[in-house]
């Protein structure tokens, strides 16, 4: 059967013989036997080591540098290790960056504002995304794929350019403004740029597919006979939705909301391009501490503070994700 050579041999007709004679698997397994390493160890080990080195260790370094003090030069922070002997200085410096964040109202406001903006945006995404996901799931299957592709297409195009599109649409001279003036809603052009409204629009627009797709995956699997049974028993559609569809779609709501909320808290591009100078968000504060003030230790402390805020949502997301993958079995 065709399976024997597999799909690769379809593209490279000579490959089958080569695989049989020298086979990468034969070579690999001989090598591994030679070194006394099992294939299992290699399969687990390579991604494991990669992630340990490039995902886990960096956080330890960020934490270490958040305890350090800024200095002129490259890298612009004092080494922490040398201070270990004189514990007193170590502890004083240790608290300095975090105490700074806590005492300065700028950082506290940015922190709280990020939670507010991310929370409201998540809610708006849910309100706009739910009907879309519900509608697609209840559409006949020939149209369904087309609609899904239409939801996904903006996701595959550049995120930066999609945010940029709103600069033109929200400015003082925008066609949107002219429309509002023609309708008589406003007397003179209003610029929505550099306001919180623009930030909300930008976040909802950019993250909407992340809400729609998990919701759709969930709603599509739902057993519609439950709704038919409810209707037969005299339940009105609105009540059936509230007592059956909504509770059953809870896993989709949770997954979609977390996929929007967590990255939105640390969002930089949208507040930087659409928001005003006073609409501070924690991701933008981190960026400015790092690139404009070149204060790596404070930027690291901001990162650690943001992580502390996000630990619970991230763990919740992992739990939901594990259940989702496990459900296939």
């Amino acid at each position: 059967m065709a399976v024997q050579g597999g799909l690769p041999t379809l593209f490279f007709p000579g490959l089958r013989g080569w695989i049989r004679a020298f086979g990468p698997y034969r070579w690999a397994s001989d090598r591994m036997k030679h070194w006394g390493v099992g294939g299992r160890t290699v399969v687990i080990g390579i991604p494991y080591l990669w992630l340990l080195l490039f995902f886990l260790v960096p956080f330890i370094i960020v934490f270490k540098i958040s305890l350090s003090d800024v200095r002129l030069g490259m890298p612009p922070y004092e080494p922490v290790i040398q201070w270990v002997e004189s514990q007193v200085i170590g502890i004083r410096v240790n608290l300095a960056n975090y105490a700074f964040l806590w005492e300065d109202p700028l950082y506290r406001n940015a922190y709280l504002n990020s939670i507010k903006v991310a929370g409201i945006s998540t809610l708006l995404c849910l309100l706009i995304g739910y009907p879309i996901a519900y509608g697609i799931a209840r559409t006949s299957s020939s149209w369904r794929n087309l609609l899904l592709l239409l939801v996904m297409l903006p996701f595959w195009t550049s995120f930066l350019l999609r945010v940029y599109a709103w600069i033109g649409l929200l400015g003082r001279n925008s066609p949107f403004n002219q429309l509002l003036m023609a309708l008589g809603v406003i007397d003179q052009p209003v610029s929505f740029l550099q306001t919180d409204v623009a930030v909300y629009i930008g976040i909802v627009y950019s993250y909407l597919p992340f809400m729609v797709l998990p919701l759709y995956a969930n709603l599509e699997k739902m057993d519609v006979t439950l709704l038919e049974a409810a209707a037969d028993l005299g339940c009105r559609p609105t009540k059936a939705f509230l007592t059956i569809t909504l509770p059953l779609s809870m896993p989709g709501i949770v997954a979609g909301s977390l996929l929007v909320f967590i990255p939105a808290v640390g969002e930089f591009v949208i507040p930087a391009l659409l928001g005003g100078p006073d609409s501070l968000m924690i991701g933008r504060v981190l960026w400015e501490e790092f690139f404009n003030n070149r204060d790596w230790p404070v930027a690291s402390a901001v990162a650690i503070a943001m992580l502390l805020l996000l630990v619970v949502p991230i763990m919740w997301f992992q739990y939901a994700q594990a259940r989702q993958v496990g459900a296939h079995r």
Partner: protein, 281 residues
């Protein structure tokens, strides 16, 4: 119930899709505008495309981004397939929970945190081992591989979990070594998922601004970095032209992939029917 949508749902869907597409359509329309101003329609013109294609900075950045995205996608697919295989096929091993955590956390981790932490790692590594010397293409590629492999892992893992293991077991029973089973049975079956993972990793890298800002160095400006510095100065019509080209390429790609998938699906249905017919002559 199916096929009967309430008026409310239809209206909300229409509004939602309009919201998704009005900004994209406006960029496409204004890319053909003669005038530099957004308000004024100065007549049809393709001069912004000409200007864009003569902009050497944009072209070089696009070339660099394509190169990084392609290397990244290939590396991420190898790492992500191994991780997906480990998580889907080895039920118990030491540190499984940690591996699960490290492959799902990057999906939601704010980019500023990932970017900062990787930069600090690269600086520390340069101090300790002298590698990587400075920041540039290598550091951007490593950073992109780390977060895009998480996406590939999810794709591969869910494909493997929904896959019938009996084919692999049959091959093992017939004496094939595990590596052979993987290359001859598993790999061809999950090949569409691997292709999807490759495209996803490519797009993530092509699109990334924040992480690249942290880990790039002088002379390694990727396309998003160039766009961002242009956009910060205000609206410029050649960016509209760039957006139109990108939307067109993606749309064509998605249509081709959609048609291919539809054909595969039909082929599979025919195969199933043929197999059923063969069983009951």
């Amino acid at each position: 119930m199916i096929g009967r949508r309430s008026f409310f749902v239809t209206t909300a869907m229409t509004f939602g899709f309009a919201f998704l597409y009005v900004p994209i359509l406006s960029m496409i329309i204004y890319s053909f505008n003669e005038s530099r101003l957004v308000t004024v329609w100065g007549g049809f013109s393709t001069k912004w495309y000409v200007e864009l294609l003569q902009n050497q900075q944009v072209l070089n950045a696009a070339k660099l981004s394509l190169k990084i995205a392609a290397i990244n996608a290939t590396g991420a697919v190898i790492l992500g397939t191994l991780a997906g295989l480990a998580l889907a096929r080895f039920r118990r091993f030491k540190g499984r929970t940690l591996l699960t955590g490290m492959t799902t956390a990057p999906l939601v981790m704010p980019e500023v945190i990932t970017g900062l932490s990787l930069l600090l790692l690269f600086v520390a590594m340069e101090q300790w081992f002298g590698w990587p010397a400075g920041r540039g293409v290598t550091t951007i590629t490593i950073a992109h591989m780390t977060f895009s492999m998480a996406y590939v892992t999810v794709v591969i893992q869910s494909r493997l979990s929904s896959l019938d293991e009996s084919l692999e077991e049959a091959a093992m029973d017939l004496g094939a070594r595990p590596a052979k089973v993987f290359f001859v049975i598993t790999l061809p079956i999950i090949f569409p998922a691997i292709l999807a993972g490759w495209l996803l990793a490519f797009t993530l890298s092509w699109d990334d601004l924040v992480i690249a800002s942290f880990v790039s160095g002088p002379g390694s400006s990727t396309l998003p970095l160039v766009i961002f510095s242009k956009v910060r100065l205000g609206v410029s019509p050649d960016i509209n032209a760039l957006a139109t080209i990108m939307v067109t390429v993606v749309a064509i790609g998605i249509i081709v992939a959609g048609l291919y998938m539809q054909r595969q699906e039909r082929q599979r249905e025919r195969d199933v029917q043929a197999a059923l017919a063969g069983n009951n002559p």
